[in-house]
Structure formats: C-alpha cells, structure tokens
Amino acid sequence: MKRGVGLTLLAAALSVVVSSCGNGVIDKSTDGVPPAEATGTLRVLLPSFPPSTKGREEFQKVVDDFQKTYPKMKVEPDFATYNNLNEKLSTSIAAGIPYDVMVTGVGWIQPFASKRIFEDLGKYGLTPDVIKEKSTAALIPAVTYDGKLYGYPLIADTRAVALRKSAFREAGLDPDKPPTSLAEIKVAAEKLTKRDKNGNITRSGFDLASATGFRQSFTTFLSSTGTPLYVGGEPNFDNKAGLDTLLWIKSMINNVQPYGQTNAAQQPLVLTGEAAMGIVGGAVDCSDKGIGQKNCDDLKFFRFNSGKEIEYVGGDLASIGSRSRHKDAAWSFIQSLTKPATLDALAKLNKKVPAYKDSANSPQAKSNPLSQFVADGLIYAANENEVPANWLEMRGNFDIQLTQAVLGQKDPAKVLHNLAGQSR
C-alpha cells in the first residue's frame, strides 16, 4: 500500500513539473475585440496545402496577410490529408476543441451545417448575391444549406473527358467530332476496344474511372441527361433517366472496359493510351516530367452531353466552426485565404483550378491545355447537387449498391429504389 501512495505522489510531482512546460490553454473569445488587440491562437484545419516546404511557404503568405489585420494572433495550421479529414474533424468536435477554420469538400457542408457544426457565413456579409460576384457559380450549391451559405469555395476539382486522336483515326472515327451522348460514346467505345485472340480486353474503349465505385461516374452520366442526382435534398434518380443511366454503365463494364481496371499510378488510363477514351482530372503535365508533349498532342478534350452539356465539379470549401471563439478572426483569415494570388498558388499545388469567378484566365488555366479546358467549362458544372443531410452515409451506400447492380448481383431498378429510400 505504501508503495502505491509513493508512486501516486511521484506521478503527481512529475506531472506538475512537466505541465509547467506545456501551454495551449483554450483561448478566451476574441469576438468583438478590436483586431489589433485580439490575442490567442487561430486553429486551422486544411488539407489544401501539402505540408511540404513549398506548401508551407504558401501558407505562411496567407498567415502574413492575416496578421496585417490581427498582428497579435497566432495561426496553428493542421495539414491533414483528405483521406483522414473526417477523423480529425469528428474527434475535435467530440473533444470540444473544434477548429476555427475548416476546409472540407463538396458533400460535407450540408451534413455539418445541419449538425450545427459550421457557422452561417451570412453574418459576415457572405450572402448569395455577394458570392455570385466572387466565386464560380459551379460551387455555390455545394456551400448552400437551407438557403444560407456555410462555406467559401477555394479551388475546383473538375472532371472532363479525353480521347486519343490516333486511336480514333485508327478505328475510322473522326477525332474532331467526339461522341458526347451516352449512346454515341457506347458505339464509339465498342469500336475502339481492342482484344486479344482469347477475347480479353487489351485496350479499353472507354475508361469510366470507377475502380473504387460508380457514385461519381453515375452522377456525371445522369447529370448529362439533364437529371441532377438530388433536387432540394430529395432523390431524383429513382426514375427512367436513373435506370437508363445505370443500365448503360452495366452495358459498358466488361464490354469496353474490365471492371476494376486501374493502372499502377491510379491515373486516368487515357493519358497513357491504356484506354482510347476516358474520364480525366483537371490538369495534365505536358512536360517531360509528366506524360510528355507527344502524348499531350494526341489528346482531345470534350464534355458529356446527352441533352445537357456538363462537367463534374468538386472542390475545397472553407468554413468557420460554430463553436470557434475567434469567429471574427476566422472570417478575416478566410478572406486572406481567398485572395486570388493564394487561390492561384493552391490550384498549382493541388493541380486543380481556382474557384474564383474568372478562373478561365487564371495562371493555372494558362499553364496546361486540360486546366484551360475545364476552367472554361466551369459554367457547365454539375455534381450531386443539393444533397440530403445524410449524404456522407449515402456516399458509401451508392458505391456499394451501384457496383452490385453493375456486376449483376442485384436488380438495378431495385437498387435505385432502395437508395432513394435511404436518402434522408
């Protein structure tokens, strides 16, 4: 027993010594305090800056700009990865020490706003009319919940389609008249698919870029028929357009592309010629360090159009935590973060395009043909649209069940009906 008491005392003594070195007491609120006098630490969670030396330099520029207004406040960045963003967000919320500024993606705003984790930015003058002037229209629905704005778009993550001119000519197709509707794409893709003597596909006719799930590609194809996935939080896919789209995907998989096909780098297959046509991201490196000029010249970009020309757009969105004690400062930080020069740097670091209004004339758009193409196409933006509050949960459901329908394990119509029922 004596020993136990001794140990406890020792531990207590030790902890007193150590705690004197620690700091980081939770701050007093600075809201309402004049910026020049506000003190404390602004905690910022953002996956948009890679924590490399270069990413850090760019971030420091934002901090310097912020500190022109708030000279006495410190900024503590947390460079999380996109993959672990949710873990960081949720533990900080559960532990009662949420971040002041949080950067998330399309699909996060509505669930977090409905849980009252994000702050309504209207209080700081960010109204629908104001954002229209500042930001690309593409991402405004993504930051809107219940008619109010809960986020500020930073950069846009886009998807276009590309074809290999050489493959088209070889198959007797005209590369200058790319197939854009689902029906046309299927006809062309079947002609472009190459097989060995055993019938195994050696070059895919069309890369659906859906190795991990069909949620994003289904949304894209469905939108191109003029049918958004959700309207006002209500499912809009348990209908003929939804079923036709899903059946179309089913008819493509293992017909023009093997299920689950991906290359070692998990990059779009059309860039390396492993597919003759396919979905691509928002930038392409034409230098010798990337895919090279020769590959680049063989590519032609276009957009899906089965009645409506569309381009899938996601992006990074900055929000203020509703339990932040530095909301004024957080808003000021977001203003520093959204200056065009910062967004240009972010776009370059992430190989995406800036989400400000004139993205088509941004340095990133000028730097490579694909970024120029997708920036020009931001007016055709489409994504899941106005998602329901349980969207984070639905994302996984879509990925699982659409695959089951495509692989013939479940009836496509039933799958869509089921998914519609699960959306709340």
Binding site: R3, G4, L7, N86, E87, L89, S90, I93, A94, P111, S114, K115, R116, I117, N198, N200, I201, T202, T212, G213, P258, Y259, G260, Q261, T262, A264, N390, L392, E393, R395, G396, D399, I400, Q401, T403, Q404, L407, Q409
Partner: protein, 312 residues
C-alpha cells in the same frame, strides 16, 4: 525416460525453499507480484478500459458528433441485425479468420523450424521472411494489385504458362475474398515466424539430445519434445491470430475498400466507415461491442481446442 516437458503450473510453486517460512515467502511473492503488475494495470485501465466503457455507453446512444444526442437503449443493436452491410461484414470476417488462421499458423511453424536449422545464409532467409512485415502497406497493396490485375497481371501471366484461363481475382465477386486471404496469409507470416523462432530457442537441447540418444526419429522428436514445449507460444499465436484476423483493416482498406460491392467488406472496415464516414459513432460503437463478443467466442473455442490438443 520421459521426453515430455513438464508444463510449469500457473501461479503457485509446488515446492518451497526450505530456509524460509512458507507464509513469509508467499507474502513477499504476492507483494512483489502486485508491484510488478500495477503499472500495466494502471496503464490498461486508463487507456483501454475507460475507452471501452465509453464505447459501451455510446452504443446505447445515437451520438453522431452533432449538438444533440439521445438515449436509444438497444435500438442500435436491433438495427444492426437488419443491416445487410454489417451482416455481410460479419460473415466475411468469420470466413477470413477460419481460412487464414490455420493456414498461416501451419506455414509459419514449418518455416520457423526450417529456419532453426544450421543452414547457410540463415540471416538472409530470416530477414527475407520478415520483410513483408516492415514493407509499407501501400507498397504491398500496389504490387498485389499488379499481381491480381486481370489484364497485365503477374498471376494470370504465370497461370497462362500452364494453360489456365485468366481469372479476374479481386474484380470478381467470387474470387475477391480468397484473393485477399492470400495476401493476408503472406503478410502475416513474418511476425508469427519470429515468435516461433524465439520459442524454438527455448526448447530444451538436453531433451532433444537425450531423445537423439534414444534414437528417436525427427518426427518423434518434434511430436514429443518440440511440440509440447511450444505450447504456451502456440496459445499466444492462436489468440493473436484470432484477434488479428478479426481486426483486419489496413489491407482491405487500401486494396479493395470492401469491394466489389461489399464482397470483401470486413468488420473493422464497416465500423470505421460507420464511425468516421457516416459519422454514426453510437451505431459504430454497438457494432464494436458485437464484434468483441464474437472474437471472445472464437477465443473461447480456440482455448477449448488447445486444451484438447495439449492433453493428449
């Protein structure tokens, strides 16, 4: 002479040193025992038991990181048994465990015995078998994705030498889980081999030599000397294999994310996604409780099997 190693009884020593009074010795042993045990009990109490209690409590709520939450009693549990994703995960995990545990234990014991011989290049071989354990999972996943690639993959290339038709491996619902099991077995060998190797050092050489003198065959030596001496470590490997296979996560997460569809969805993946993607922490907690009960059942069965085994 008997070559069966007496397994030391747990706890109480049978004989007592004559110089000391029995009671004094016992008291001093008990005191030392508790002193030695206290740090581990404190540590595990704070960092494991309290969180588990928190999980138990959470499992009765609908907590989802929002401002409000409420008690739902056993609502989460009753929902779970109607959740197709959970049931699929449970089934896949049990299958995975049943296949992977015996195969990987048998292979690693065989390799460990092989590596316990006096052979040339022993250091190289030991290191080689351990390398998968230290190689980053992302590298392991990438190369196995290549091996299993339906088009240009190594596995199909190798099988085509024997005229076997190409398989779709991870992309085929029928073969996805078995393909994953192979990687699981492959990756888990290293640690088990090391433990067996360490244990093989403890097998009494005197006993092996006297068995030699008796003219015992290799197999007899193994069955009568080595195998009984490995008992405690076999038990350790069995328990940790059960726990390890039930908690398989990283490998599935980077290789298939549970796909195609939910064909390779396993319990921890489902729990993780419920907790951190769907943000349903209460629900995920209930799932964890069920999972721990299932593992405990398996361990119970494992202990029964082991007892039967060491008694003969």
């Amino acid at each position: 002479m008997s070559t069966t190693l007496e397994r030391p009884a747990l706890g109480t020593p049978r004989k007592v040193a004559p110089a000391k009074d029995r009671g004094t010795l016992l008291r001093s042993q008990v005191r030392t025992g508790w002193t030695l045990l206290t740090p581990a009990l404190l540590h595990s109490g704070i960092f494991i038991v309290i969180p588990v209690i928190a999980v138990l409590v959470l499992s009765l709520t609908d907590y989802s990181f929002g401002d409000t939450w409420s008690w739902v009693g056993f609502g989460n549990y009753s929902t779970l048994f109607r959740d197709v994703d959970f049931l699929a995960s449970l089934w896949h995990t049990v299958l995975y465990a049943i296949v992977v545990i015996p195969i990987s234990m048998a292979i690693s014991l065989a390799v460990a015995i092989g590596l316990n011989q006096k052979i040339k290049g022993i250091g190289f071989f030991r290191t080689a078998f351990y390398i998968p354990t230290v190689t980053a999972t992302v590298a392991i996943a990438t190369i196995w994705l290549w091996i299993y690639n339906p088009g240009s993959g190594l596995a199909n290339g190798f099988l085509s030498l024997f005229g076997v038709a190409p398989n779709r491996w991870l992309a085929d619902p029928a073969t996805a889980l078995p393909s994953l099991m192979v990687v699981g077995i492959w990756q888990g060998l290293g640690t088990k081999i090391i433990i067996y190797l360490a244990a093989l050092q403890g097998v009494s050489r005197d006993l092996l030599e006297s068995a030699d003198l008796d003219g015992a065959s290799r197999w007899q030596k193994f069955a009568n000397v080595t195998w009984p001496a490995l008992g405690p470590v076999q038990f350790f490997v069995l328990i940790t294999s059960i726990v390890g296979t039930f908690q398989v996560f990283d490998l599935v997460y980077v290789m298939t994310r549970g796909g195609p569809g939910s064909e390779t969805r396993v319990l921890v993946l489902d729990i993780y996604q419920n907790a951190f993607q769907d943000l349903k922490l209460g629900y995920a907690s209930a799932e964890t409780v069920i999972m721990m009960i299932v593992i405990a059942l398996f361990i119970g069965v494992g202990r029964l099997l082991q007892r039967a085994d060491t008694n003969d």
